[in-house]
């Protein structure tokens, strides 16, 4: 068990070190996310009117798009540089590889959100209810990267690669998007988390089911 956990962290550490040195995934996700928000700003005139309800949707659409970008890179790098074969040859449980990759993707998404959300609140003069917002961001991003990691591993081995991932991922994460947007909307409206308990329950159910299923099926997705 301890061996398993240390292997997870070893792989995760490798991914984080690579990212800290190259910064290509995070910088790409972040600039892309800023551009999406900029376009939304022109499309909806975010300064006026029903900002609280629009803001939640804008933020989660942005996270979803930026997340797909990051997920795609996470396995393209492994494949193109041949490090996936190295991982598969090493005596590591496939589940450990899954957890490490999933946590890495989750961290990338969370870091992007951590910069983006305050920035968005600042630019659009929105009060930032940080404490109730945290669990929503965490649960939503976890669900997204739980299935996203499996689908990204699959998409990288298909002929169309990057195009395949959103086609696989977006229909399946619809519950996450709906629940996260609704919960974020309520939180931005100034109410506390108890009024969004149902949505949090859907997020938790999604996270638990798909982390377990992805953990169990991941070996079929990466074995060659």
């Amino acid at each position: 068990m301890i061996g398993f956990i240390s292997k997870v962290f070893a792989i995760l550490g490798k991914d984080l070190t690579a990212e800290i040195r190259s910064r290509e995934i995070l910088s790409g996700m972040f600039i892309f996310a800023l551009l999406v928000i900029l376009i939304f700003n022109f499309a909806f005139e975010l300064q006026r009117g029903e900002l609280a309800s629009l803001a939640a949707g804008v933020l989660w659409v942005t996270f979803a798009f930026a997340g797909v970008l990051g997920l795609n890179r996470s396995f393209v790098l492994e494949k193109d540089r041949g490090s996936l074969e190295g991982l598969l040859l090493s005596p590591v449980d496939r589940g450990a590889i899954y957890l490490a990759k999933m946590l890495g993707n989750l961290i990338f998404i969370l870091v992007t959100e951590a910069i983006l959300v305050p920035l968005f609140a600042f630019v659009s003069n929105l009060a930032l209810p940080l404490l109730p917002l945290l669990p929503v961001l965490l649960l939503g991003s976890l669900g997204f990267s739980a299935v996203g990691t499996v689908f990204a591993a699959m998409a990288t081995s298909t002929r169309t690669r990057e195009i395949m991932l959103p086609i696989l991922l977006f229909p399946v994460v619809v519950p996450v998007v709906i629940a996260a947007v609704k919960a974020t909307e309520v939180v931005f409206g100034g109410r506390d988390l108890s009024s969004v308990a149902d949505w949090l329950r859907i997020l938790i159910a999604f996270d638990v089911i798909f982390t377990v299923v992805s953990f169990l099926t991941f070996e079929y997705v990466i074995s060659e």
Binding site: V147, P171, P175, A179, S214, T217, Y220, V221
Partner: protein, 258 residues
């Protein structure tokens, strides 16, 4: 052997033809015309069976995806235990044994997408005169649409992988994840909004339909289900033949190079 299989399929085909004719007669001659909606309501007898079969088909995809992966895992671990064959040959053998499940998953997914498409076409045709709109983001409509997207993605995924063994593995994983997603999609969309007519057949207070309509619906469901299995068997046979052709081609190539 092929002959005997064929006869069973033909009998099923004849039965589904007969029951479809019976259902059509019942729909237009026996069942009363609904007082408010008029003749448009008859689309209900096509809409509901299609929806049922789409869900049945996706359930078949789910089960055969699990069985496919389980059969592979079993074959692989047994042969590893014996250690008689090199791993490459062992995994090839387990793949051949598991392959019928992959064929079933593919066949059911294709027919399921067909029926889900029929649901999405017949729904708006009914909704336009009754609700006054073609489409609304109601819980059941949205759930069906998202299901349709998931299984279209399933077919797109298969079309984008050349290696047959990998195609089977990947699509099995999607077949499992996609179906487990159905209740979550349903609940989240339902809490989001709903206007679809409530359940008319399975209802705690008993069916809310007049008996003639209910009988017609049941006959129509039976006919569509027979048709579904007839199509499924044909689709399976086609896929089996395709696999045989592939095997013959490989055998020819091997003997050609030797």
């Amino acid at each position: 052997m092929a002959e005997r299989g064929n006869r069973g399929v033909e009998v099923l085909g004849g039965l589904s033809l007969l029951s479809l004719a019976g259902a059509l007669a019942a729909i237009f001659l026996y069942a009363p015309t609904e007082r408010v909606m008029g003749i448009v309501q008859k689309i209900f007898y096509f809409h509901v069976p299609s929806a049922w079969l789409a869900y049945l088909a996706f359930f078949i995809v789910f089960v055969s995806s699990i069985l496919y992966l389980a059969e592979r895992a079993r074959g692989f671990s047994i042969s590893l235990l014996i250690r008689l064959f090199p791993p490459a040959r062992a995994s090839l053998r387990s793949w051949v044994k598991a392959r019928p499940w992959d064929r079933l998953a593919l066949s059911a997914a294709e027919i399921g997408v067909l029926f889900a498409t029929l649901v999405l076409i017949t729904g708006p045709l009914w909704a336009r005169p009754v609700w006054g709109i073609w489409w609304t983001w109601d819980a059941r409509l949205t759930t069906t649409l998202i299901l349709w997207f998931i299984y279209v993605a399933y077919l797109v995924l298969r079309a984008n992988i050349d290696d047959r063994e990998r195609r089977a593995r990947f699509s099995a994983v999607l077949g499992i994840i996609g179906f487990l997603d159905v209740p979550l999609v349903h609940f989240s969309v339902e809490w989001w909004r709903t206007t679809h007519p409530g359940p008319t057949v399975i209802n705690p207070a008993g069916p809310s339909l007049p008996p003639e309509m209910l009988q017609t619906l049941m006959l129509s469901i039976l006919a569509f289900t027979l048709l579904f299995f007839y199509m499924l068997l044909h689709r399976l046979r086609l896929e089996r033949m395709r696999d045989e052709v592939e095997e013959l081609k490989t055998a020819l190539e091997v003997s050609g190079t030797a």
